[in-house]
Amino acid sequence: MHMGMVIDLKKCIGCHSCAVACKLNNNLPEHMWWNRVLTKGGETMDTADGTYPDKLNLQHLPVNCQHCADAPCVKACPTGASYKAEDGTVLINYDKCIGCRTCMAACPYDARSFNWKEPTYPLAHAVGEADAPKHQAHIVEKCTFCANRRARGEVPACMELCLGRARYWGDLDDPDSEVRRVMQGRRKMRLLEEKGTNPSVYYLL
């Protein structure tokens, strides 16, 4: 089994709903985003690339952990806190993380974030799932493809809230899975393939 995600960039409208869904469902502390929507070109978020009027181009790129098959973060982690789960996802055992941040330096996608201090929250109460991950100070965290939801048979939270229905989720090893079917006949890419990380997130162009 090799769980993966396909994101159809033709359907992505850049609404950042997936980022918000991720933030709420996982009760993420302030300043932490496991899932970000980047903008190609443009100087700041959500600004177009090129020059007015005919060479303008606006392209969004949602980026979460790519759950690489040859994950450099897993290779770099000295204690084995970052590990490859049996279903092909990359997970972190928070209680074994010594906070050396080698995995963050090793990740080419900047997908990982560190709790630089005791986590603080914008709201006085916890939000999201009851079994959302417990955040600790001085450990590295990242997208888990919503491991707690998947354990109940649900899909990752970013998929549910995606307005353009641009995200697909399933087993990349299964030829009949939805992720494999939507990729047929489409041009696709993976991020920074030349780094040899073999990511499990595909983008349809």
Partner: protein, 269 residues
């Protein structure tokens, strides 16, 4: 700056550093202003400098005891051992301890080490530095007491050279990082090796600057250079200059092989 002022300035820096070190422990990593896109900062730089110092010092100590050509360096190996290997390890430990988010969990590096992680091998190499340093110190002490011959140092000297060369393992933490193109290149291990030797020599020079009456010795050398054009002088002047160096216990000429070359030249003549 006079020596007294230097000491006061250094002491003030030590107090400031200790205060900041404690502050970091109380307030957490947030005060370093590192962020998720710059996860490593000056602590790692300090760690690398001190690791390089320990490795370079071991390399120099090992070479000095291994080859007779560098025998004149041997008196300085004790300084290198204390100010290079031991202080280097202490400094590296202090830097990495404050850089780690949860240093108390470092035990997992032994309980469940990840063999593909360069950090695990780096920790092993640092332990080897410590062990080699202690053994070298014991042997040097025994030799100074006259209970061992200088030749008995050779196996340990070989171990020290090997341990020093293993500084390239430290570089793997950077060289194997595909995410950082400027680190991920084959020259990285070599640059670590050269940097280690250079930083050890630099620290040795700095320490000697404060231990020996160097300025006076330098002045005498300059005076003789100014007085005799080429600076070489006549043979008797050379000999007397040599004696001056010896009387003042000047470190520089023997450290740079200056006297040895001259000695050989005189023997030929």
């Amino acid at each position: 700056m006079s020596k007294k002022n230097t000491k006061i300035a250094l002491a003030a820096l030590c107090v400031l550093g200790a205060a900041c070190y404690l502050l970091q422990f109380v307030l957490g990593e947030d005060i370093t202003h590192m962020n998720n896109f710059v996860p490593w900062g000056l602590y790692i730089v300090g760690f690398m400098c001190f690791t390089g110092l320990a490795a370079g010092a071991l390399l120099l100590i090992g070479l000095a005891w291994l080859t007779d050509g560098l025998a004149e360096l041997r008196p300085y190996t004790r300084i290198l051992l204390i100010c290079g290997v031991l202080c280097g390890l202490a400094g590296a430990g202090a830097f990495i301890f404050v850089d780690l988010g949860n240093p108390q969990r470092g035990i997992y590096m032994m309980l469940s080490p990840n063999p593909t992680s360069p950090q695990v091998w780096d920790a092993a190499v640092l332990s080897l530095y410590g062990l080699t340093g202690i053994l070298l110190g014991r042997q040097a002490w025994l030799i100074a007491q006259g209970r061992r011959t200088a030749a008995s140092m050779r196996p340990l000297a070989l171990l020290a050279v090997i341990a020093g060369l293993l500084v390239i393992v430290t570089s793997f933490a950077f060289a194997l990082m595909v995410a950082a193109p400027s680190w991920n290149e084959p020259g990285e291990p070599l640059s670590f090796l050269f940097a280690a030797a250079i930083i050890a020599l630099a620290v040795l020079s700095l320490v000697l600057l404060h231990l020996s009456p160097l300025p006076a010795c330098w002045a005498s050398r300059r005076w003789s250079a100014a007085g005799h054009g080429s600076g070489r002088g006549t043979k008797t002047e050379q000999v007397s200059r040599k004696e001056t160096f010896h009387n003042q216990r000047c470190a520089w000429p023997s450290l740079l092989g200056f006297e040895q070359e001259k000695q050989q030249g005189e023997d030929k003549a």
